[in-house]
């Protein structure tokens, strides 16, 4: 690789002022200080005692914090400097699709005409929002090969549970609600899958992976019976491998009357290549905060829409925006809120994380069909290029073309020099990159799950590979002090659990 220029995704030049702890807001407080100010309203100034019955009125104000606006700004700004982010550097956190979040999406949704709309407004006042949501739904259905979608689930896990409740409603309507009690899940699945299955009222039956890292077809066949409600699959799976036998799997599950659920965590690999609908899936959730660049926000808000085939559409949550034949004035489209015929009911307080949905739509519009296809091509190219570079340095348990991410293992390094996956992760931080996902999927020992995403340049990838190779040359003893460049050193997680301090007020005095 002729680089010729510096990698854009390496963060080792980030300026850090020191390693003192940042005081909490409560330490920065001074009694009587406040930043608040209120508009003049002219409303009569009744006292609290005149407004609230004595039994309900507090004796003392709720203690919050007492800081000036200037100190609040300084505090939060310093906190922000103690935080790694995609905008700072590459974030190859496997399974999380930490791609660059285009700034045009921030601006697209920063409009009073979107942000200041009350969710209980009469539909005549929200036609723009309803059109936007309907347009997004249509695009998501085209991308996944599905017939209809709900945009309500606010996260992937919420989408999973919604999808399982759709499965339950479908079987219930077919008179098979009682009999079908099991949902199959591969042993490489995300933890949310089994947890969602339990909350959906089903039992988990685990399906082992075969030597190639895919669903073991014989094991699957042995577990299929008419008490199976369905199977949840991620494809490509969490090993970053495409389930080549997906058509056979779909046939076998459908044969016993089960449904196929597509966990869209890894959808970033297949845009424009293939669609869950073509593979035979009946229910699909998407993580818009992964594939469609809604920023992760430190852990939310995301959005986890669920798309389904025709036969499941009548069960979707409501209300949903539905295009009516004609606008009230006879021109253009008009929308109303409606519940599908056999809807499972409401799945969110309102209409889902609307601004996050809008961001995803702006991203899809900007990319278009051509741009989205390019996303997956580059994501898969980047992951495979890294796989080639790391081969021989790290164990690659399933060494064949991967999709958007690769799973390496530090087993060889642990054996040779005591260097564990955890150590590699902490050393990556010193090298100016966020760490890969570690110890997942569970089927790989000392797993390092690396998802570079399509938005990292070849130069950044090369620097990342060099760093990983440099790290692998070290020993566990060297790595124990890592990271040495971060605001705090290695954090004592065991102590946090043993001596739980969940709030400032719970600290021992």
């Amino acid at each position: 690789m002729s680089t010729g220029s510096a990698p854009g995704g390496r963060a080792t030049s980030a300026p850090l002022m020191g390693r003192d702890p940042e005081p909490t807001l409560f330490e920065l407080s001074s009694p009587g200080r406040t930043a608040a100010n209120f508009r003049a309203t002219g409303v009569p100034e009744w006292s609290a005692e005149e407004l609230v019955p004595a039994g309900a009125l507090r004796d003392e104000p709720t203690p919050v914090a007492e800081v000036s606006e200037r100190d609040l700004v300084a505090h939060m700004t310093r906190l922000s400097h103690r935080q790694f982010s995609v905008d700072l550097g590459a974030y190859p956190l496997g399974s999380c699709t930490m791609k660059y979040n285009p700034k045009l999406c921030d601006d697209a949704v920063a409009r009073a005409g979107l942000a200041d709309v009350h969710p209980a407004s009469p539909p005549a006042l929200t036609q723009g929002w309803m059109a936007l949501l309907a347009d997004l739904e249509d695009a998501l259905c085209r991308i996944t090969g599905m017939a209809a979608a709900t945009l309500q689930p606010p996260a992937g896990a919420a989408g999973e549970l919604t999808g399982l409740l759709l499965m339950r409603a479908f079987h219930g309507a077919g008179g098979q609600g009682g009999r079908r009690r099991r949902v199959l899940i591969p042993d490489s699945a995300h933890g949310t899958n089994p947890a969602s299955v339990t909350l959906g009222g089903y039992e988990v039956t685990q399906v082992p992976s075969d030597a190639r890292g895919c669903v073991d077809l014989d094991a699957l066949a042995a577990r299929l019976d008419d008490d199976v409600a369905g199977i949840m699959l991620t494809n490509p799976n969490t090993l970053g491998l495409f389930e080549e036998d997906i058509v056979a799997i779909a046939g076998a599950v459908h044969e016993v009357g089960g449904l196929l659920y597509y966990d869209g965590a890894n959808l970033n690999a297949i845009l424009g290549v293939t669609r869950p609908g073509d593979m035979g899936f009946d229910i699909v959730h998407m993580n818009l905060h992964k594939t469609f660049a809604v920023p992760h926000g430190g852990g939310g808000p995301g959005a986890g829409p669920v798309a389904v085939t025709d036969r499941l559409a009548p069960y979707l949550p409501g209300p949903r925006p539905v295009r009516t034949a004609e606008g009230p004035s006879g021109g253009g489209d008009a929308y109303e809120w409606a519940y599908p015929e056999h809807s499972i009911g409401r799945a969110h307080s309102w209409h889902g994380n609307a601004l996050a949905l809008a961001r995803a739509w702006s991203y899809i519009l900007a990319n278009g069909g051509d741009g989205l296809a390019r996303v997956s091509q580059a994501a898969v190219l980047n992951a495979n290029w890294l796989r080639h570079r790391l081969r021989g340095t790290y164990d690659i348990p399933y060494d064949r073309p991967c999709m958007h991410e690769l799973v390496a293992s530090a087993t060889n390094l642990k054996r040779a020099r005591g260097l564990r996956a955890l150590d590699v992760a902490k050393r990556m931080l010193e090298e100016g990159f966020h760490a890969p996902t570690t110890y997942f999927p569970l089927v790989v020992e000392e797993a390092l799950m690396i998802e570079p995403t399509e938005t990292e340049s070849p130069q950044t990838l090369a620097a990342m590979a060099d760093a990983l190779i440099r790290i692998a040359a070290g020993t566990g003893d060297d790595a124990h002090a890592a990271p040495r460049t971060s605001p705090v050193g290695r954090v004592d997680e065991a102590r946090a659990a043993r001596q739980l301090i969940p709030t400032w007020d719970a600290r021992p005095t």
Partner: protein, 440 residues
């Protein structure tokens, strides 16, 4: 417009280094029968300016609240002022573009902000432990119900009709999976009329409730204890400025909609679910929890803790499937609330209560307008009108007001009206004048 940085030459070079000639070869594992012939069935990408144009059109087809549509609607989504610091700080890209803090050494910013957020939620609600937020008020209530069922080993849950109807609907939707029996408890003059006997897992009450009325939380707590049930309270964080905390009145779990602090109305999302409980339930706490600890050199540090509760470790035995939450909204909540401060929170609640009384008294003086309840209120109240509430809302839109939210049949109709600190006397006076015409 796309965001892939690779030049064609670089792609060719990368492929060559792997002994490949086309990217397509990397997709060989995808069976030919499944391959899309025409790519993604969407129009070509747009330039940034064209995307902006599309969004201008969407926005123009909405009617946001503001000077042209003065907001008196609430019902779980409130039109409060959001100070400039919220956008400037919470939406810094370091917070916006980070992920869940799995590597605490480089995530102290988000972790400390969440620790401070958890502290504030506990103070507002009078409880010991709060998580790092859930999706929205409804999802927080679902998790509270699940916690109560697990803690008591009972399946029946009594939910007051004073709880937001949408939240109750979500609880009902998800109960199809868990098998919980949800019993609706009716209101009497706007306040929950609990059955005297039974063995529920939880009593669920909202205060101030959906109709704006301040409920008898203390009495509900005593009843819950006598029945061996938990008391789950859905509380309004703004009310913490004036009202006794639910925790001090006997609540075991308190949930809430955090929208009033830092989240714009935005058609209902993203908001954030507040969740706090007594320490004895911490092992059943859903979602992320941040705790204080030390680093190897003895410096104060923060980390997500009690991780063994969570789905990625407990898998099918986890009591919740929550993975991500609404961290960014929690940071916005923190900034807004810190800006208000101790005195500002009280002042905010007081101003809401003043405007509400002023508006309520003026409306009740209008001929034919009757109160739905005589119970005390704080920021919201309901009235019956001689003309159907839906008609009143439509007529008031013509006059430049979002007059409120029409109540469903389970409340016998009526109009739910909220007055925040934003409403001036002049706006309220104009509202009442328009209302007089609209109800004729």
């Amino acid at each position: 417009m796309h965001f892939v940085p690779h030049t064609d030459a670089e792609v060719a070079e990368m492929l060559a280094s792997m002994g490949l000639s086309s990217v397509d070869e990397l997709f060989a594992a995808v069976p030919a029968a499944l391959r899309l012939a025409g790519g993604v069935d969407l129009a070509p990408g747009l330039a940034e300016a064209d995307v902006a144009g599309r969004f201008d059109a969407y926005a123009a087809a909405n009617r946001p609240v503001g000077r042209g549509l003065v907001c008196f609607a609430g019902a779980g989504a409130y039109d409060h002022d959001i100070p400039s610091v919220v956008h400037a700080l919470a939406f810094r890209s370091e917070f916006v573009t980070a992920y869940t803090p799995y590597q605490p050494e480089v995530a102290q910013g988000v972790l400390q902000a969440l620790f401070e957020y958890q502290t504030l939620v506990c103070r507002l609600f009078g409880l010991d432990v709060a998580n790092a937020s859930l999706y929205d008020g409804a999802s927080a209530l679902v998790e509270a119900v699940n916690l109560a069922v697990a803690a008591t080993g009972r399946q029946e849950v009594w939910v007051s009709r004073g709880v937001h109807p949408h939240w109750r609907q979500v609880v009902a939707t998800l109960a199809a999976g868990t098998g919980h029996r949800v019993v609706d408890v009716a209101l009497d003059d706007g306040l929950t009329a609990w059955p005297a006997a039974g063995s529920p897992a939880a009593l669920v009450v909202q205060s101030p409730n959906y109709l704006g009325c301040i409920e008898g939380v203390g009495a509900a707590g005593e009843l819950a204890r006598s029945l061996g049930a938990l008391l789950v309270v859905a509380a309004d964080p703004v009310s913490a400025g004036l009202l006794r905390s639910p925790g001090s009145l006997g609540a075991d779990v308190v949930v809430g909609e955090g929208q009033p602090f830092g989240a714009p109305l935005s058609l209902g999302g993203p908001y954030l679910g507040l969740f706090a409980c007594r320490r004895e339930h911490v092992r059943r706490l859903p979602g992320r929890l941040v705790g204080e600890t030390l680093d190897t050199e003895g410096r104060r540090a923060y980390v997500t803790t009690l991780r063994t509760r969570e789905q990625d470790i407990r898998r099918e035995k986890a009591s919740s499937n929550v993975c991500t939450n609404q961290t960014l909204m929690a940071v916005a909540f923190l900034v807004h609330l810190a800006w208000l401060g101790t005195a500002g929170l009280r002042e905010l609640a007081l101003r809401c209560a003043r405007g509400t009384r002023y508006c309520r008294e003026a409306l009740l003086a209008v001929e034919g307008v009757e109160p739905l309840s005589g119970a005390p209120v704080l920021r919201e109240f309901a009235v019956r009108t001689p003309v159907a509430a839906g008609v009143v809302v439509d007529r008031m839109v013509e006059a430049g007001f979002l007059a409120g939210v029409a109540l469903g049949e389970e409340y016998g109709g009526g109009l739910l009206i909220a007055v925040t600190e934003k409403r001036t006397r002049a706006e309220i006076d104009a509202f009442v004048t328009a209302f007089e015409k609209a109800v004729r």
